[in-house]
């Protein structure tokens, strides 16, 4: 009974993805389900046609850099808050959480107005910076979780043995925090890869990311590359989260207590 319930919900979650995977192997250019024939040519087209390859590479580049920006902001802030519990650090932490608590269209409109009045707009760098700040919440949460899990005895012992702050940070704290930085980076990377509205408002007409390209082609009619590129992106997300689960404690990252805390 319990298993049947879980199975039904999982079916609901994977059904649309299965249909997309099925139509992506249609032999002809038409949208048919069940698929007629079998062909992987629409996967080849992602690489062969620059119309698709360019937005894919652009999105990957933006996501890689934006996630780095997000972690670079989150790390010193989480460190400072762990080290000194003062109200202005807590306030800054709260500001870092806001972008995720609001409907994203609000942040997107803020950026549209901000960049257009700054006189510097429409470039990839604008998208990277906007995504970097917009997604800061994710590494901020994971890295803070990492700091909270640190054993204070370790840092105190190092301090007693004569290590200064910087040495403790470099040799003890950072290696222990690294998995949390990596998972924060991974979360921000995947979300940036799939993000539409902020990218669209910041530079939608000059920097075509994959989600923007997909939405534009959705309006002009169907091509099977839309299905194959979707499958690739779903697989990429599953692969990245699978790796996070393999090398990190996914239940703890998502808020369950660690095995030792029970």
């Amino acid at each position: 009974m319990r298993r049947a319930g879980i199975g039904l919900v999982i079916l609901f979650l994977v059904a649309p993805l299965l249909v997309i995977a099925a139509v992506s192997v249609n032999e002809k250019k038409r949208l048919l389900f069940p698929p007629h024939g079998f062909s992987l040519s629409w996967y080849g087209a992602i690489v062969a046609e620059s119309e698709w390859l360019d937005p894919v590479l652009r999105s990957l580049g933006i996501a890689a850099m934006a996630a780095a920006v997000a972690v670079s902001i989150a790390l010193p802030l989480a460190y400072f808050l762990w080290r000194y519990r003062v109200f202005y650090a807590k306030a800054l932490f709260a500001i870092g959480l806001i972008p995720f608590a609001l409907p994203p269209v609000i942040t997107a409109l803020g950026y549209l107005i901000f960049w257009s009045s700054s006189g510097w707009s429409g470039t990839m760098a604008n998208v990277v910076l906007s995504h970097g700040v917009f997604l800061v919440t994710l590494p901020l949460v994971t890295v803070s979780l990492g700091f909270e899990g640190l054993d204070p005895a370790l840092t105190e012992a190092a301090g007693t043995m004569g290590a200064d702050d910087l040495q403790v940070l470099r040799t003890i704290v950072l290696p222990l925090i690294l998995p949390y930085m990596v998972s924060g980076y991974a979360f921000a990377f995947v979300i940036s890869l799939n993000e539409y509205i902020v990218a669209f408002m910041v530079a939608g007409f000059t920097v075509e990311t994959l989600p923007i390209k997909l939405f534009n082609s959705l309006r002009y009619g169907y091509t099977p590359v839309m299905a194959s590129v979707t499958v690739v992106f779903v697989a990429l997300a599953a692969l990245i989260f699978g790796l996070v689960a393999r090398f990190g404690d996914l239940p703890r990252l998502l808020g369950a207590l660690g095995p030792r805390e029970r």
């Binding site: 319990r2 319930g5 879980i6 609901f12 994977v14 649309p16 993805l17 249909v19 997309i20 139509v23 038409r30 949208l31 048919l32 389900f33 920006v69 902001i73 010193p76 802030l77 460190y79 400072f80 762990w82 080290r83 000194y84 003062v86 650090a89 800054l92 972008p99 608590a101 609001l102 409907p103 994203p104 269209v105 609000i106 942040t107 803020g110 950026y111 549209l112 107005i113 901000f114 009045s117 800061v136 105190e156 702050d165 979360f187 995947v190 993000e195 539409y196 669209f200 994959l210 959705l218 299905a227 979707t230 992106f233 599953a238 989260f241 689960a245 996914l250 239940p251 808020g255 207590l257």
Partner: protein
């Protein structure tokens, strides 16, 4: 290195300079400019000039705005309620699986959560389409005479929105449910309550604040959907987020878009603050 003591020297603040500057310049400043622009004067042909007027806020009282607002609130509440209704028993079952069995399901949930709205909208439009949809499957089984087009429609939008919000609802419910005291559940079982009765009379009442929080956060999350109503619905199904973008980009009325964004901000922040207060009072009275 000791934790908790306040920083004394200016040098100790060095770590705060860069995050403070980034969040200040790239989040607080855009927000402040947006508040200002919502009060500016709109000039025809899509520009605006400094001013101080409430004309854009006054348009909230027109039916153009209020119809879309009411529809947005209605469909967001409905989708979020559906997600909690299905998601709560699902998460309860999920956390009672072993940690190992949970992981593939959590990976699936995260993957679905991170999917672009375009992808979700596209996938559902195919699933509900006449050519390649679920109805073909029903025809094949013999339940339906002819394949039907189920999209665009209200039901399609609701489906898409629930699909988007569902993983988010689960991830909000996951921490409180996985921290639920197992001994309490076992005590109820030992005293003779059936699993269903334990769930209804022990688990649900204890977690009522968490359920309400999941509903509110899912509601705010759904309110932000932008592409789903356009891909799976008709113009009467457009939500406030679509309207804001439409005004900003295509109607080039940025002050009005900013005013609507301010309204959406206030609604969302009030709801999130209510959730936080709810959780705090729940922690005080266990």
């Amino acid at each position: 290195m000791r934790r908790g003591e306040p920083p004394r020297t200016l040098r100790q603040h060095a770590a705060l300079v860069y995050p403070g500057a980034m969040l200040g310049v790239l989040f607080l400043v855009p927000f402040a400019i947006m508040i200002a622009v919502s009060l500016y004067h709109r000039v025809e042909q899509g520009f605006y000039e400094p001013g101080f007027e409430f004309t854009h806020y006054a348009r909230f009282f027109t039916s153009f705005f209020s119809d879309h607002l009411l529809f947005s609130l209605f469909i967001a509440a409905l989708a979020s309620a559906l997600c909690v209704l299905v998601g709560f028993p699902f998460t309860y079952a999920l956390v009672r699986l072993g940690r190992r069995a949970q992981i593939p399901i959590l990976v699936l949930l995260l993957s679905v959560l991170s999917l672009s709205e375009v992808i979700v909208g596209f996938a559902w439009s195919v699933l509900l389409s006449k050519n390649a949809g679920l109805s073909n499957l029903l025809v094949w089984i013999g339940l339906l005479a002819k394949p039907l087009a189920w999209s665009p429609s209200f039901g399609a939008v609701l489906c898409g929105l629930s699909y988007l919000t569902f993983p988010y609802t689960i991830l909000v419910l996951y921490p409180p449910l996985s921290r639920l005291d197992r001994e309490m559940v076992e005590a109820a079982r030992t005293l003779g309550a059936s699993p269903a009765r334990t769930f209804a009379t022990v688990v649900i009442p204890v977690l009522r604040p968490a359920i309400l929080a999941a509903f509110i956060l899912g509601f705010v999350f759904t309110l932000g959907s932008y592409l789903t109503p356009q891909i799976l619905g008709r113009p009467q199904h457009w939500t406030l987020s679509v309207l804001i973008t439409d005004q900003a980009i295509y109607a080039a009325n940025i002050p009005f878009a900013a005013a609507m964004a301010m309204f959406l901000t206030l609604v969302s922040l009030a709801l999130v603050a209510a959730t936080l207060a709810l959780n705090r009072s729940a922690r005080r009275t266990p």
